[in-house]
C-alpha cells in the first residue's frame, strides 16, 4: 500500500514541476503586461513613471530564469504572491474559497453517486422498457449538453419563472452571518446541476454492469433459490457491479474540475473554480498559476485514491 502511495507521489513531483515550468514559459511569452492588467481602467490616468516603478517593485525587469527560480522558491515556501484581480494574497483567496468548492463538489459527488446508482439500477432492472429508454436516452443527451447551458436552463426555470430557489451567490446578501439553511438553499441549484452533468457516464456504467451481473451464475442461482427480485438486484447484482466503481470515480476528477469551473461561474458560487475564470479574464498570473497547480494536485490525488480504493476493494491485486 505504502509503495503505491510513494510511487504515485514520485510521479507527481516531476509532473508538477513540468506544469510550473510550462506555465511560467507561457506567461513569459505572453503579450500581456501584468502592470497594465493590475491598473485596469486606472491605467488611463497613470503616468509612465508610476508604471515603471511598479514594474521594478514586482521584479519584472530581472532575467526570466531568475524570476522563475524566485517564483518557484516562493511557491515551495508557501509564499504564493499577491492576486491582482482580488487585490489580496493568493493564499487568502484560496483558503477562503477552497472550502466552498469542496462543499459544493463534495455534495455533488454524493448526490451523483446516489442518484446514478438508483437510476442506473432501475434502468437495468427494467431493461428494454420505456423507462430504460428514457433513462439511457436522457443520459446520452445530458452527456452532449453543455453544462453551462443546463445551468442557465435551471436558473430560468427555478429562479426566474418559478422563483423557488435563488439564482446565485452563497447567502442572501443582507445577512452578515452564515446561516446553514440559507447556504443550503443557495447550494441546491449548483450542486444538482453539477451532479446531473457528471452523472451520465455513471448511470450508463451502473446499468451495464448490473445487467452483466444479473446474467452471471451466482445471481441466477440466487434467483432460482426463489429470492425476491429486489433482493437479487440490490444484494447481489449491485454489489458486484460496485467493485470497480470507485476506481472509475477517481479517474473522473478532471471532468469534475471542468464541471466545477463552469457551474461555479454561472451560479456566482464563491469557490476556487470560479476564481479561475476571474483570474484568467484579468490575466492574474499568480492566482491562475496556483489554481492550475491546485487542479493538477486534485487530479493526482484522485488517481491515488482510485488506486488505493481498487486495491482495498479487490484483495487479489494487493500483491
Amino acid at each position: 500500500m505504502l509503495r503505491i502511495v510513494l510511487w504515485r507521489l514520485a510521479f507527481a513531483v516531476p509532473l508538477l514541476l513540468a506544469v510550473t515550468a510550462a506555465m511560467f514559459a507561457l506567461a513569459a511569452n505572453s503579450p500581456f503586461d501584468p502592470v497594465r492588467q493590475y491598473l485596469g481602467d486606472r491605467a488611463m490616468v497613470t503616468s509612465p513613471e508610476v508604471v515603471a516603478r511598479i514594474r521594478a517593485e514586482w521584479g519584472l525587469d530581472r532575467p526570466l530564469l531568475e524570476q522563475y527560480a524566485t517564483w518557484l522558491g516562493n511557491l515551495s515556501s508557501g509564499q504564493l504572491g499577491e492576486s491582482h484581480s482580488f487585490n489580496r494574497p493568493v493564499l487568502d483567496v484560496i483558503l477562503e474559497r477552497l472550502p466552498w468548492t469542496l462543499l459544493a463538489t463534495g455534495c455533488a459527488i454524493v448526490l451523483m453517486l446516489a442518484g446514478s446508482l438508483v437510476v442506473g439500477t432501475l434502468a437495468a432492472w427494467r431493461k428494454g422498457s420505456a423507462l430504460d429508454r428514457i433513462i439511457t436516452g436522457g443520459a446520452l443527451a445530458n452527456e452532449s449538453a453543455p453544462v453551462f447551458w443546463l445551468a442557465l436552463a435551471a436558473i430560468y426555470v427555478f429562479a426566474v419563472t418559478l422563483r423557488w430557489l435563488p439564482a446565485g451567490g452563497l447567502t442572501d446578501a443582507g445577512s452578515t452571518t452564515l446561516d446553514p439553511l440559507d447556504v443550503a438553499a443557495h447550494m441546491v441549484l449548483p450542486v444538482t446541476v453539477l451532479a446531473i452533468s457528471q452523472s451520465s457516464w455513471l448511470v450508463l456504467y451502473v446499468r451495464e454492469s448490473v445487467i452483466a451481473t444479473l446474467r452471471e451464475d451466482f445471481v441466477l442461482g440466487a434467483r432460482s433459490r426463489g429470492l425476491r427480485e429486489r433482493t437479487v438486484v440490490v444484494r447481489h447484482a449491485l454489489r458486484a457491479a460496485l467493485l470497480p466503481f470507485l476506481t472509475l470515480l477517481g479517474a473522473r476528477v478532471p471532468e469534475l474540475v471542468t464541471g466545477a469551473i463552469l457551474v461555479e461561474t454561472v451560479f456566482s458560487w464563491p469557490g476556487v473554480a470560479s476564481a479561475t475564470v476571474q483570474a484568467a479574464l484579468s490575466v492574474d498570473f499568480p492566482l491562475l498559476a496556483v489554481l492550475t497547480l491546485l487542479g493538477t494536485l486534485a487530479v493526482v490525488a484522485g488517481n491515488l485514491l482510485a488506486d488505493l480504493a481498487y486495491r482495498i476493494a479487490d484483495p487479489r491485486t494487493a500483491s
Partner: protein
C-alpha cells in the same frame, strides 16, 4: 444506503466551513444592502479609493452638492487662494474625530495628499508641489503651476497620519468600517458621533455581484435594497410596487477615438461622414433601452460647461455626398474606404455599439472591421486603429480632457492615443487650466468644444443614464450628474442623509 449519508455529510461540511468563514457582527435585518458590479480594489483613499467622493467612510476637505457645486466638509470654507494661484490655504473644522477617536489635524491632510501622489491616481495630483500643516487646523497647498481645478481635487477622503492597518479603514465619515469579506461584501455601521449628524440608515452593506442578471434577480428577491443595472435589466422593475427606478444623467460617454496619423481615419471627411451616418437615437432607444441621450462632444449637456452649438444629426445622404466630394468614390463592391474599430472584448455595451456603428457605416459604403480585443492588445494599436472608448467627468472640464486632447500627451498610453494635435486646442486647454477667472475659463472650454467638434476629433455616440433601482421609499435621494466611474459615488454618495419615508 449512500443517499442516507448525504444530509449528514452536508451538515458536517457546512459546520466545518462555517467555522472557517469569518463570522461578523449580529445579523442585521435593518441593513441597507447596495449591490455593485465590481469589488473595490482598495478602501484606502491614498491608494485610489473614491477620490471624487462617495466613500461613505471618509470625508474630503470639500464635498459636492447635488448641483455639483463644492461646499466645505472637513474644511470650514473654500480655500484662500493667492493671487498667483500657486498657494491655497484651508482651515479645518474643529472637533472632528476619526473613528478610532483621534482628532483630525492638518497633519492628517498633509499626510493624505503626500501619500496619494505615489498611488496609481497620483497623476491627478501632479500639480501639487507640497502640502504642509501650518498649525493644527491650517494646511497649505503649494502648487507647481496655477491649477484652477485644485478645489475640485480636494474631495479626496482624508486618512489619519500614518495611514491605518491594511484592511481596517479609519476615516472621519458618516459610516465606520465593520468588515470586508473579499469577493462578497463590505459592511459598515453608522457613525453615531458624525460631525454632520448621525445617519438615519444604521447599517450599510455593499455587496459585490459582477453579473447583471444576478444583481437583478437578487434585487427582485428582496436580498438587495439598491443596485445599479444596465437599462435593459432594470426595465422590468419600472412601475413595480415598492421599487423605485432612478435614471440619472451622467457625463459618462461612449465614443470613437480616431487615430489621426492614418490615411482613412486621419481624413476629416471620413470622420464627419461617419458622424452623419450614425443613428445615435436608435442606439439610445435599443442598446441603452432609452436610458441615455445622443452625444456630440466630450462635455455633458447636463453640466454648466456644455457648449450648446456642438450638435449634429443623422443624414446618410449628406454623408455620401461629403464622401463623394472628398474623392472617396465607391469601388466595384460598393466600398469607399475601410478601417478597423477595436472594442474591449469583455464589454457588451461597447460591443453592441461597435456593431451598430459598423452597420451604419456599411450604409454609406464604409467598411468597418471589428476587433474585439483585450486592453493589452488594444493599447499598442491605438495609434493605428479606431477604438470604442468611454469616459467623462461632470466635475471640471479640465478633468481627462486635458490629457485626452493636449498634443503634449500624444501617444502616451491612454492619454491622447490618436495623436490629436491642434495648437488652438492646446491653448484653450492651457488657458482653462491656469486661469482663476470663471468667465475666462468658460470661454476657453466653449472654444475647446467647438474646435474638437470641427475637427471631429472623436465621434461621440451617447451619454449614458445610470440606472439605479431602490427598494422602499426614502427621503433625501438627490440625483446628480454621475461620472464615468461611480461605484458608491453617484446616487449613493450622500446615503447618510437619506431617511426612510414615514
Amino acid at each position: 444506503m449512500l443517499s442516507r449519508l448525504w444530509p449528514a455529510a452536508l451538515v458536517a461540511v457546512l459546520a466545518l466551513t462555517a467555522c472557517s468563514a469569518p463570522s461578523t457582527a449580529p445579523a442585521a435585518d435593518d441593513a441597507f444592502v447596495i449591490a455593485i458590479s465590481s469589488e473595490f480594489e482598495t478602501l484606502d483613499p491614498v491608494k485610489g479609493y473614491a477620490p471624487d467622493g462617495g466613500s461613505m467612510m471618509f470625508d474630503g476637505l470639500m464635498t459636492r452638492s447635488a448641483d455639483l457645486t463644492l461646499r466645505p466638509a472637513l474644511a470650514t470654507a473654500p480655500p484662500v487662494v493667492s493671487a498667483d494661484g500657486l498657494s491655497a490655504v484651508f482651515t479645518l473644522r474643529q472637533g472632528v474625530r476619526f473613528h478610532d477617536g483621534r482628532p483630525l489635524t492638518a497633519k492628517d491632510v498633509a499626510y493624505t495628499y503626500t501619500s496619494v501622489k505615489g498611488s496609481p491616481i497620483g497623476g491627478d495630483y501632479e500639480a501639487i508641489d507640497t502640502v504642509t500643516a501650518k498649525d493644527d487646523h491650517t494646511v497649505e497647498f503649494r502648487l507647481k503651476h496655477a491649477y484652477a481645478p485644485l478645489t475640485q481635487r480636494t474631495t479626496l477622503g482624508i486618512v489619519p497620519e500614518g495611514g491605518f492597518p491594511a484592511g481596517k479603514p479609519i476615516g472621519t465619515g458618516p459610516y465606520t468600517f465593520v468588515s470586508w469579506t473579499p469577493g462578497d461584501k463590505v459592511v459598515m455601521t453608522a457613525n453615531k458621533d458624525y460631525w454632520g449628524g448621525a445617519p438615519a440608515i444604521g447599517r450599510v452593506v455593499v455587496a459585490f455581484a459582477a453579473d447583471d442578471n444576478v444583481r437583478a434577480t437578487r434585487l427582485a428577491a428582496g436580498e438587495f435594497d439598491a443596485t445599479i443595472l444596465p437599462p435593459k435589466a432594470a426595465a422590468r422593475f419600472e412601475n413595480q410596487r415598492g421599487l423605485k427606478v432612478y435614471k440619472v444623467d451622467s457625463a459618462d460617454y461612449r465614443g470613437i477615438m480616431w487615430p489621426f496619423k492614418q490615411k482613412v481615419t486621419g481624413d476629416v471627411a471620413i470622420r464627419k461622414a461617419m458622424s452623419l451616418a450614425i443613428d445615435r437615437q436608435a442606439m439610445v432607444d435599443t442598446i441603452l433601452a432609452g436610458a441615455g441621450k445622443p452625444a456630440y462632444g466630450p462635455v455633458s449637456p447636463d453640466t454648466v460647461w456644455h457648449n450648446p452649438s456642438v450638435t449634429g444629426r443623422t443624414d446618410p445622404e449628406a454623408a455620401r455626398k461629403l464622401l463623394d466630394e472628398a474623392g472617396h468614390k465607391p469601388g466595384p463592391d460598393g466600398i469607399r474606404a475601410s478601417f478597423t474599430l477595436m472594442y474591449p472584448a469583455g464589454d457588451s455595451l461597447r460591443k453592441e455599439l461597435s456593431l451598430a456603428v459598423a452597420s451604419d457605416a456599411k450604409k454609406i459604403g464604409i467598411d468597418v472591421k471589428l476587433a474585439g480585443l483585450d486592453w493589452d492588445a488594444i493599447e499598442p494599436r491605438m495609434a493605428r486603429d479606431a477604438l470604442m472608448m468611454g469616459y467623462g467627468s461632470p466635475y471640471d472640464p479640465d478633468y481627462v480632457n486635458f490629457e485626452l486632447f493636449h498634443s503634449k500627451f500624444a501617444g502616451q498610453g491612454f492619454f491622447n492615443p490618436g495623436h490629436y494635435d491642434n495648437p488652438k486646442v492646446d491653448a484653450a486647454l492651457e488657458k482653462g487650466r491656469a486661469s482663476t477667472d470663471q468667465a475666462v475659463r468658460r470661454q476657453a472650454y466653449q472654444d475647446f468644444q467647438q474646435l474638437v467638434h470641427d475637427d471631429e476629433a472623436w465621434t461621440y455616440l451617447a451619454f449614458l443614464k445610470h440606472v439605479y433601482v431602490i427598494r422602499g421609499d426614502y427621503q433625501g435621494v438627490t440625483p446628480s450628474v454621475d461620472a464615468h466611474e461611480h461605484a458608491t459615488g453617484g446616487l449613493f454618495r450622500d446615503l447618510h442623509t437619506w431617511k426612510p419615508a414615514a
